[in-house]
Symmetry: C2
């Protein structure tokens, strides 16, 4: 750019956004009905500002395609005369599966097209990294369990979502690095598709949790919020304008690896001063090893060690308390950075470590607010949602439903 402006016939302003990426009107109608539940056709007309004629044509298309149906007597505006007719998603139009892979136990769920759970499954596995084939085997086992419970066939499952911790490139479908896989840069999505014949989306597990909140939780009333998870690492998911935001090139939101101290504590990523190097399991357990002579061994998992550390702190042990206190202060700092940058109305804290109330004690929340600029602002709210793995797996079904909808409703698919 120069101070000399270009001649006016060269144009100014942002390059025109990719208009092709916007949703078809048909998809907007479908998603409106899905979000509202049972809906009168007149509400669709009003909400989308389309003519009654267009609404009739579009919903007729969707009914013809078997994804919407008319039901009687459930519309909002009841009155005299014939019973009103409402629209709703056809639950058994399609089925999807969602899976959360974890260090010790995987969780899976099968839902219909309206999000109703048809089957659940869990599979206990050996902790630690293993190879791709082993993980694909496990996903196939879980899928088989879901099919047996639900009585569905593999052909009926139209999409799958799989979430796992690590650095996951959703767009490329690769696990760049994961504590669950021995190898780096693994084409996990393609491997699953090759084995199962079902289109798969993979994502970071924190993004899946954000999807669960967006589809089934706070997203039902809020369009923008942040999710921060504390487990073996520190994760972040961001929803902007009703959409999961993964960063400009899809690999952002690595809150756990933002630096909170120059040349600070060593992180498992090999760098120094990362937020998670003060908060994650390994950070707490190495401090416990130093001051409390506690060492994880084969009989004592890191989690058992943390439970023991927590018990000591509760009993009044000053060293144990100082470990949690410092972790809490760094959590305050990390959350205040989220507030400064994203100005969220709500931050949802989640993950297994939320069982340790030191991490969301009053003093942690007070310090978080004290760290952040306050003038002219409404403080961000923090809520702790201590969901079980089933909710994460449901987030994976949301990923599957979302991708399936794009595929079914896009202009290209419809032209077929």
């Amino acid at each position: 750019m120069k101070d000399q402006i270009p001649p006016s016939n060269a144009g100014i302003g942002p390059k025109h956004p990719d208009l092709h990426a916007s949703k078809t009107l048909r998809q907007q109608v479908f998603e409106y009905v899905r979000a509202e539940g049972r809906t009168a056709r007149a509400d669709v007309t009003r909400a989308l500002e389309i003519s009654p004629g267009s609404a009739t044509t579009l919903t007729a298309d969707l009914i013809g395609a078997g994804v919407l149906r008319e039901v009687e007597g459930a519309a909002r505006e009841s009155g005299r005369g014939r019973p009103p007719v409402a629209l709703e998603v056809v639950p058994d139009a399609h089925f999807v599966a969602g899976i959360k892979l974890s260090d010790q136990q995987h969780t899976a769920v099968l839902t219909d097209f309206a999000g109703n759970i048809c089957a659940e499954a869990a599979l206990t596995v050996t902790a630690g990294q293993t190879n791709l084939t082993q993980r694909v085997d496990e996903v196939e086992t879980l899928l088989t369990m879901l099919l047996e419970t639900s009585g569905k066939t593999r052909d009926e499952i139209k999409a799958m979502g799989v979430g796992m911790s690590g650095i996951i490139d959703h767009d490329e479908g690769t696990s760049v690095w994961s504590p669950l896989l021995t190898d780096s840069r693994v084409h996990f999505r393609d491997a699953l598709f090759a084995r199962l014949g079902i289109p798969v989306e993979i994502d970071n597990d924190t993004n899946m949790l954000a999807m669960a909140e967006l589809w089934f939780g706070v997203g039902r009333t809020m369009s923008d919020f942040a999710v921060v998870t504390i487990e073996n690492g520190v994760g972040m998911g961001l929803v902007i304008g009703n959409q999961l935001y993964r960063g400009m090139r899809g690999m952002g939101m690595e809150l756990g690896h933002t630096k909170v101290q120059l040349d600070g504590a060593l992180c498992r990523c090999g760098k120094r001063g990362c937020l998670e190097a003060y908060l994650a399991d390994y950070a707490l357990s190495r401090e416990a090893a130093t001051a409390l002579n506690m060492t994880p061994d084969t009989d004592q998992s890191t989690q058992a060690m943390l439970s023991a550390l927590y018990a000591k702190a509760k009993e009044g042990d000053a060293s144990a308390q100082s470990i949690f206190r410092r972790a809490g202060r760094f959590l305050s700092l990390g959350l205040s950075n989220v507030i400064q940058l994203f100005d969220p109305e709500l931050i949802i804290l989640s993950g297994e470590r939320m069982q340790y109330d030191y991490l969301y004690a009053n003093e942690v929340m007070t310090e978080m607010q004290a760290f952040a600029l306050s003038e002219g602002r409404t403080p961000a709210r923090v809520e702790v949602h201590a969901w079980g793995d089933l909710v994460w797996a449901r987030g994976a079904t949301a990923l599957a439903l979302s991708s399936l909808t794009d595929q079914l409703m896009g202009a290209e698919a419809w032209a077929k």
Copy 2:
């Protein structure tokens, strides 16, 4: 949220986005032509995937409204037969002004509807905070200067953009805190409108610079990028999907006040460990005062002091070098945090302090990359754009043009 799912007729999925907020097709046509410069009608048809008939109707509307016009002989596809006809924005349909308020000299620019500069003005002012009336006076003086130079009347100016450093609430039109205003929470936008009778948008100056890049700079070829400014403070502007992103409630992007050290250096905001407390003018000058016995007095402004410090560093003074070296390391850290969270392809560094090449030396860039997770990622590029104030003022005109377009092209305005 519970593990129990709601009945399917309650709906699932994100609540339907605010469809009313989307742009009218008419506005999309106008903005496409503005972005392309001279454009054939057939290109509009193709780009927006509308019928030739719709394109004809919509462009006829816009020509009738006096904002687009037909010109001959400039379309892309030249051939035999009659000369092709192209569309372009009518430059003198409307005029806007953009102003950057600064500590020592304000800058102003008046442009036509196609972004051509018609007049420029600058006004030297007394440094420091002053009251609202004084700042409104100064803006009025600048506007008068622009009108005299351009020969336009006040009535012809349809919108104004005003940018200044500080915490500016764009949506509310208030200066929450600014180094230029004595009072906090000042309704600056309304005060300007009351005096000038012209609709005004106010914003943080870094956001204005991001707007300048979006409308006239890298935004002409990129839809997503970050801008980081180092001046008296540290600012950040973010463009996502061709739009300025200000955070969920409009008060985010405060990179300068993210914490990079627990209980760290004191910031002028009163808190400790903010990034800008290691990078901004006041941070460097207080270190210079400590180690080099340099003190700003009435004869020596902070900037003069920094120039002297820089000269010393260039001469080989170890203390002076260590001051810049530390600032550079914190800049590396701050930029790596931007990379971790937003995963940008490009970060533009700008602001007056970019004259000190220590801040973007090879070692700073190398350390920035070393701090960030690299596996599976393409490193972010960093470019230094050392624009003068005129470019910031042009960013303010982009803000004005953008708001004027929304106002002119919205469904409501058109119905009148």
